[in-house]
């Protein structure tokens, strides 16, 4: 209020002042004007002394700006390791070997805990959680029913106890108790599934296979597939002759189709393919019908039963016709098995594969990733292939939808596809494949090992095909979080840097190589040294190169531990000398030169010249004399030129000149004469 009044008062006073000025305008107008001008001047000068206040323009933000900024923070962190590792610099794996080791150690720790829970269930079986968590309770694996009876047998089968089931079965047969066909069939199922070995030793083997395929994020998908896959690989349990399954099969009073089918499937799973075929013939003779799983197994066995391409295809077609005759509907796995067989049928496979896929579409079966994997293998992986455009069509399909795992071979698709892109040297296909992998759940098909291989191949392709800025951007983003570069990747990166003439990035790459633990790889070291020492570079870069050379030198020296020191080659030794010389480190360079004699290697002319240049720059005539001595002792043809250069370019004292003259080398009396005459003249 007071302020308002005061303000009003001021305003009134100002008005009054101006009125006064105007009133006095007449006779004393000049005075008024002068006063006003004085006032005005005062005002002007005060304005001038004040700085110009520039009001900034009002920023208008996009409505979504805040949300977009927040979204940009939720990207993949390019410096973090995989989620399963602890976020600590000591505990973070630096290269592929370490990441495998740590994930395997964690898994084995988990197995140790599960062992304890299984063996001491009494400490873990209190149910105090509401609701109860069944997956965290110990498994009740002890059979409840005692005695020898069919119920006991059924329970043992349910608990997967192979040996005990067989024992009880034998006891029952000896006692003469009649057993139902279903029970015997379920016993046969158990035996054929486990290949007549105990399921717990199977579990240990499973654990060992776990160790070979670490994949925590994909392990849920792979769990049902693991036994399947291992069964067909050569390291599964083999089908022994006259094992329990065969014996029980023979003594069965009656057999139905299920018995034959399960025997066939077990034999194919464990590698007794010829026997499986014989069993199938028996099944046909008994006029039974096989089911779709049996046919799938037989088709999988077809390429192993026959040798020639046409015969294999004929056998597969025979199985398919039988399937049609017995009115068994094929499913996805049937067609995948057919395609897998066609992979091993060469040219026949190529002509038939597309027909098979069309048949699949006609039956309204959605192809899975394994289908595409087999297709790509048929058309792109082989010798003397005609070019085809299958890959773009396949990528079209893959980009469209998110796949679920339906076949054990689904996991191989992305690796095969990336390999095909690399072979075709097409980076655009690779980008499309990446997009397909990021769609939906498709990333789950790649476990740790496959992920590393996939990105490694992608990076090699990038280095070959893309500009260096793009390559470096991908490199910074991908390693070490997505993949750990292999030595081949580092070599490709060096070549790309060389092609783009950006050799100053090399020291940074060397730091990464040290972290990855590749410092003892001979081909990598040679590549690094040759690239660094090829041309002259500005000084700071030269100093950085010299530091890298020092690290490489350290790798060649005995480290005191059991590691055998690396052997020097002529080129590596020479390059190290060149790098030290260019950076002005004369003493280090001379130490390297002495190594030439120790390791019986010959320095090139370039090396000697560089060393002389360095000695000249740092003004060490002693070193140059030592160099000439060394050259003479090694019997190099350039030693004369070196000697003359030393004489010309250096200011030598008397003693030094005498030493230089007295250096003996084999041959050439004329030179020694001229040197004698020189000394005579002096």
């Amino acid at each position: 209020m007071a302020a308002g009044r005061a303000g009003a008062g001021c305003w009134q006073r100002a008005l009054w002042l101006s009125r006064r000025c105007r009133l006095q305008a007449g006779p004393e107008s000049y005075r008024c004007s002068s006063s006003s001008t004085a006032l005005g001047k005062a005002v002007d000068s005060s304005e001038v002394t004040e700085e110009e206040i520039v009001l900034p323009r009002r920023k208008t933000w996009n409505k979504l700006a805040v949300l977009q900024t927040l979204a940009s923070t939720v990207n993949r962190d390019p410096t973090a390791a995989h989620y399963m590792f602890q976020d600590d610099p000591f505990l973070m794996p630096r290269n592929a070997a370490n990441s495998r080791l740590y994930s395997l150690s964690k898994e084995s720790g988990r197995n140790a805990a599960k062992y304890i829970v299984k063996n001491f269930p009494q400490y873990f079986d209190k149910t105090f959680a509401e609701p109860n968590v069944p997956c965290l309770m110990p498994e009740t694996l002890t059979p409840q029913t005692e005695g020898v009876s069919e119920e006991a047998l059924k329970e043992r089968i349910k608990l997967r106890r192979v040996k005990e089931s067989v024992d009880i079965f034998d006891q029952l047969v000896q006692a003469g108790t009649p057993l139902s066909l279903e029970t015997t069939n379920s016993l046969l199922d158990l035996l054929c599934f486990y290949g007549d070995e105990e399921s717990t030793s199977e579990n240990e083997e499973e654990a060992k296979k776990d160790l070979e395929e670490p994949g925590v994020n994909a392990s849920e998908e792979k769990a049902p597939k693991r036994q399947f896959q291992r069964g067909l690989q050569s390291s599964g349990p083999r089908w022994r002759d006259n094992n329990h399954a065969e014996r029980i099969f023979k003594i069965m009073p009656e057999r139905n189709a299920h018995s034959y089918c399960t025997m066939i499937r077990g034999m194919v799973k464990h590698g007794a393919f010829a026997k499986a075929y014989d069993m199938y013939i028996d099944l046909l003779n008994e006029r039974h019908k096989a089911d779709v799983h049996t046919f799938n197994a037989l088709i999988r066995a077809a390429p192993i039963l026959k040798e020639k391409f046409t015969e294999r295809w004929e056998l597969t077609k025979e199985f398919l016709t039988h399937m049609a005759q017995q009115e068994v509907q094929p499913n996805l796995l049937t067609f995948n098995a057919v395609l897998k067989a066609l992979r091993r049928c060469g040219g026949v496979g190529r002509s038939m594969a597309l027909l098979v896929v069309k048949e699949m579409e006609a039956l309204d079966i959605e192809p899975s990733l394994a289908t595409y994997d087999h297709l790509l293998s048929i058309f792109y992986r082989g010798v003397d292939l005609p070019p085809s455009g299958i890959i773009s069509e396949v990528l079209d399909e893959v980009e469209k939808r998110s796949f679920t795992p339906q076949d054990p071979d689904d996991a191989n698709f992305f690796s095969t596809a990336m390999q095909v892109c690399c072979d075709l040297k097409d980076i655009k296909l690779a980008y499309r494949l990446n997009k397909g992998m990021e769609k939906g759940d498709n990333w789950k098909f790649l476990d740790m090992d496959r992920l590393n291989g996939y990105w490694s191949k992608f990076f090699s392709l990038l280095c070959m095909m893309e500009q260096i800025e793009v390559v470096l951007k991908w490199y910074k983003e991908m390693s070490p979080s997505l993949f750990y570069p292999t030595p081949k990747n580092i070599l490709d990166l060096l070549q790309a840097l060389d092609a783009a003439n950006q050799l100053e990035v090399i020291p940074a790459v060397w730091e990464d190589v040290k972290q990855l633990g590749f410092t003892r790889r001979q081909e990598l070291l040679e590549e690094f040294l040759s690239l660094m020492s090829r041309d002259q570079h500005p000084d700071e870069i030269q100093l950085a190169f010299a530091k890298c050379a020092e690290d490489i030198k350290a790798a060649h020296e005995p480290a005191g531990r059991e590691q055998v020191p690396l052997e020097w080659t002529g080129s590596t030794l020479g390059n190290v000398v060149v790098l030290f010389s260019r950076a002005g480190r004369t003493q280090d360079a001379w130490n390297m030169m002495e190594l030439f004699q120790q390791t019986n290697r010959i320095p090139t002319d370039k090396v000697m010249n560089e060393f002389l240049n360095c000695a000249k720059q740092t003004n060490c005539p002693e070193e140059s004399i030592k160099l000439v001595k060394l050259a003479a002792s090694l019997g190099l043809p350039s030693s004369h030129r070196l000697k003359s250069r030393t004489e010309e370019e250096f200011e030598l004292s008397e003693i030094q000149k005498k030493t230089l003259e007295s250096i003996k080398w084999d041959g050439d009396s004329s030179d020694s004469d001229s040197s004698d005459s020189d000394s005579d003249r002096e």
Binding site: L91, S105, R110, Y123, A129
Partner: protein
Amino acid sequence: MAAAARALRVLPRALPGPARLLHTSPTCLKTRAARVRVGKGDKPVTYEQAHAPHHIAHRKGWLSLHTGNLCGEEGAAERAVEDTFLRRFLFGTFPGLLQDEVVLKRRGNLLVVCALLSRALPPHKIYFLVGYTETLLSHFYKCPVRLELQTVPARVVYKYL
């Protein structure tokens, strides 16, 4: 009747009436709990150990975070027992590696164990122990247990007492 009278006279002393008794409990030592006594100056002490309990919420945080002590919430005692067990379990499972008290955080069903380890063991052995601890404790307490580790090269000394 005479016998009854004699029995009454022969009765031992009467039942004790109101009496003054002394009730003892084990000594509580409230003034000595969680305090490191000052010595010659050669005893290294971490920040956690150097501060007395009355500094909690002023200079220290809590070592165990759960909602059992809030108004209307149950289970404080069970949480305390679980905490004790967890600390002993971790002390034994990571032999000589724990550099400071373990911090336990409960978020909903999840139990987060934050431990500070030294770098005495190689990383793959530490990962073995991590996998083992997580799985065993999950099965024991029927809730997901997660271990978050940080390694330090040496014990972080706050002062010497």
